[in-house]
Symmetry: D2
Subunit: 256 residues, 4 copies
Amino acid sequence: MSEPVCLVIGAGAGIGGHVGKRFAKEGYHAVLCRRSDGAGLERLVQDIESEGGRATGYLLDASEPDTLEDRVVAIEAEIGPIEVVLFNLGAQIGNRSLAETSDKQFELGWRLATFGLFRVARAVCPAMEERGRGTILVTSATAAMRGNAGQHSHAAAMGGRRMLCQTLNAEFASKGIHVAHVLIDGAVDAPDTLGKLLGPERFEQLRAARGREKDGLMLPREMAETYLHIAKQHRSAWTHEIDLRAYSDTAWWNHG
Amino acid sequence: MSEPVCLVIGAGAGIGGHVGKRFAKEGYHAVLCRRSDGAGLERLVQDIESEGGRATGYLLDASEPDTLEDRVVAIEAEIGPIEVVLFNLGAQIGNRSLAETSDKQFELGWRLATFGLFRVARAVCPAMEERGRGTILVTSATAAMRGNAGQHSHAAAMGGRRMLCQTLNAEFASKGIHVAHVLIDGAVDAPDTLGKLLGPERFEQLRAARGREKDGLMLPREMAETYLHIAKQHRSAWTHEIDLRAYSDTAWWNHG
Amino acid sequence: MSEPVCLVIGAGAGIGGHVGKRFAKEGYHAVLCRRSDGAGLERLVQDIESEGGRATGYLLDASEPDTLEDRVVAIEAEIGPIEVVLFNLGAQIGNRSLAETSDKQFELGWRLATFGLFRVARAVCPAMEERGRGTILVTSATAAMRGNAGQHSHAAAMGGRRMLCQTLNAEFASKGIHVAHVLIDGAVDAPDTLGKLLGPERFEQLRAARGREKDGLMLPREMAETYLHIAKQHRSAWTHEIDLRAYSDTAWWNHG
Amino acid sequence: MSEPVCLVIGAGAGIGGHVGKRFAKEGYHAVLCRRSDGAGLERLVQDIESEGGRATGYLLDASEPDTLEDRVVAIEAEIGPIEVVLFNLGAQIGNRSLAETSDKQFELGWRLATFGLFRVARAVCPAMEERGRGTILVTSATAAMRGNAGQHSHAAAMGGRRMLCQTLNAEFASKGIHVAHVLIDGAVDAPDTLGKLLGPERFEQLRAARGREKDGLMLPREMAETYLHIAKQHRSAWTHEIDLRAYSDTAWWNHG
């Protein structure tokens, strides 16, 4: 068996899951990794399979050594070439004052969101370079562009990650590896992140309102189309940095 | 007759022409405007028609009063609703020292590239707003992001234009009008601009080399796919700023 | 008579006047230009002279041809070498929708704020280059960095001006001419601009409050210290872009 | 004894040492910390004392837990209030491909340059907040703005650090703590960093050339004037982001 693989690191019910589904429809084997909630992961795999796609799920703690690296090796050996990676790990822990931000929290943000990407890229790039092609899609947040109050851990991690996307692009673009930094500038209609933040009741009230995106909620199913487009861009016209937000929302630079 | 229109301001044989063709394939009536070369314009219209598309061409001087405004009115009355505008006018005049840059040149850059977009947007937005939808795609250049030596006129015009894209987006996004700033960060394989700059012989030598984009030339046919994708994005996930460059090229921020 | 001149274009009672005063204390002959209010201009000149400084005032319409150029020639001939220029013309006309922004307004913003700087720079740079030194300080606004709703004219003018500062720096830094873009990110305690906007009563109420800057008002007398510092920087360590805001205010990128 | 303290983290013979000297001249007790070279540290202390200033030196490994925090506590108890901090730790390890960048190197960059600033800020801010004033000056590098090839560790660390400066500013500006990000966009005439990189002979040849800064070398003695100016800015007009480069050099955004 050797199918082109789309590896999703951070495959919840929002962007990660929807991008996995979209690439599965396109013929990729979706390899879905997340830290916890095996049942949710299994549902995602079954959703894809029930629509005729191929998917495999793994629970994986990206903050632990070798987890990402070993998974990459096993996928290349057992499933197929990793053509696309979606690095979708967040590090948002809500707003905390400096005094309330512990060393451990600050470090964990970096370990997941910055160091995790570094490790995945180092693991997948050699095979991509040998094949002369590959795509690394990185979900990013407004905190990569500016540091708001209370975002010490998150903004430092995301700001570092954006620069890392640039260094990766600078080294690997000419070798056929396309790295794209996708800035999500708004709230995503994602049960596993926003849903947990708001609680089920408030989240459903929010979603039930007609025209969800009128409230500035971004629909991950629609966002996945842009992730796919970027992965399919011809190499003479690659996008490295792109933003996404709801029509009803305000760009981060316009607030105030 | 009332067909959805894709209006291209600056329809040469590069990005403008290819975007016109691509949208025509998608069912839009391509209305192609350029300042000169009626024969080239006619060829472009015929190309589109020979592939079963609808197209109309106009010669139009965007630096003259009322030209853009009158054309917009006539199109809405005679052809159909302008669903998409591609504003594709450049203002590159090559590198000139400050002493060698005349008032007239400096003003012309602004008049075409900045004021032209302002005028087109003011002409098309009322109808788009009434219809609750519309897309304005703006081809931009690296000079919108940084000012290199010798680029006084071009960079001032493009920098102003980028801010104008942001003010337009800030006013009109919530009304359903999608404004996108597409940063072209490299040389385009375009006979009417790069071709004229190099002369026919050198340009053909450059193009003849196998794997054109290896030299960093961006293929406008491929770029048009991204313009189309942006116009088709769901309104819950719109892109406002995106860059495009050849895989073999270096990002503007990496030089040096 | 040949005294080093600090030429202020836009010399009201705020930044322009205070920078003029500060440089006069430093030994420069302050040449103060503004469009109107000859009485206010005269007071400013007398203030400087009463403290033992040298100053001359001119009424000058920067939107008219040759006014800036002729003034530069006359100063160099009659007063002394223009060592420092403060370009302090604004183009803020308040928020206006696109429909309410006329061609004339849009053009005037550019003519004063962008084209005006181009003209002044082209007029002063040859003599500065010959002397191997000179400083051009440009007061800028947040609108140079992002385009808010209603700011079509202002943002386009300021965004173009920022790029122009970069092209000027790129051409002239190595020739000893220091161009600095000073981003004023907040409201200035300036009677001629903010004062007129608010009306005298509300403005005085605002100012009377103890610790004016607690309300985010920036004190132009204090800002002038930074303008002076930039002009005195050693050429091995020049600043090209700097921001200024009140401690009690929020950075433009943080709003929201 | 209770003297206002200027604490320098990263006090070599370049920026750190010169800023320490400059603030000592201004009446601050310079507390100089560096990881190694006790002899060099001692010379620096003696230089300051021989000019009538007050200084104390400590060897300190900022990558070790509690080192920074304990030093801050001890200084406040034994020397005086820390009015100014210069965070001057770099993380430049030269260019390395992704494959050649180890986990340890990538982490060390973050640990020194990003996490170190977080720890120092958390240690000094409570006392500064209680006093209602304080200044944190952060030496930054071009890698905070863009990621060049081979700079994976450095750019990720510096990009995170810039965002951290913004989150610190967002939380603490209104409490009277001034955080400034000083972007050093060029090579500094610094024996301990550039000197070691080039070797003594090549470095001396470079320095011996008349008009050192003609080669784009920035003189740390002159740079220190701007650090001091920022620390002395009135709170109604604070700078948060500033760049410095030699007149003979090219801005990072202009290369190419």
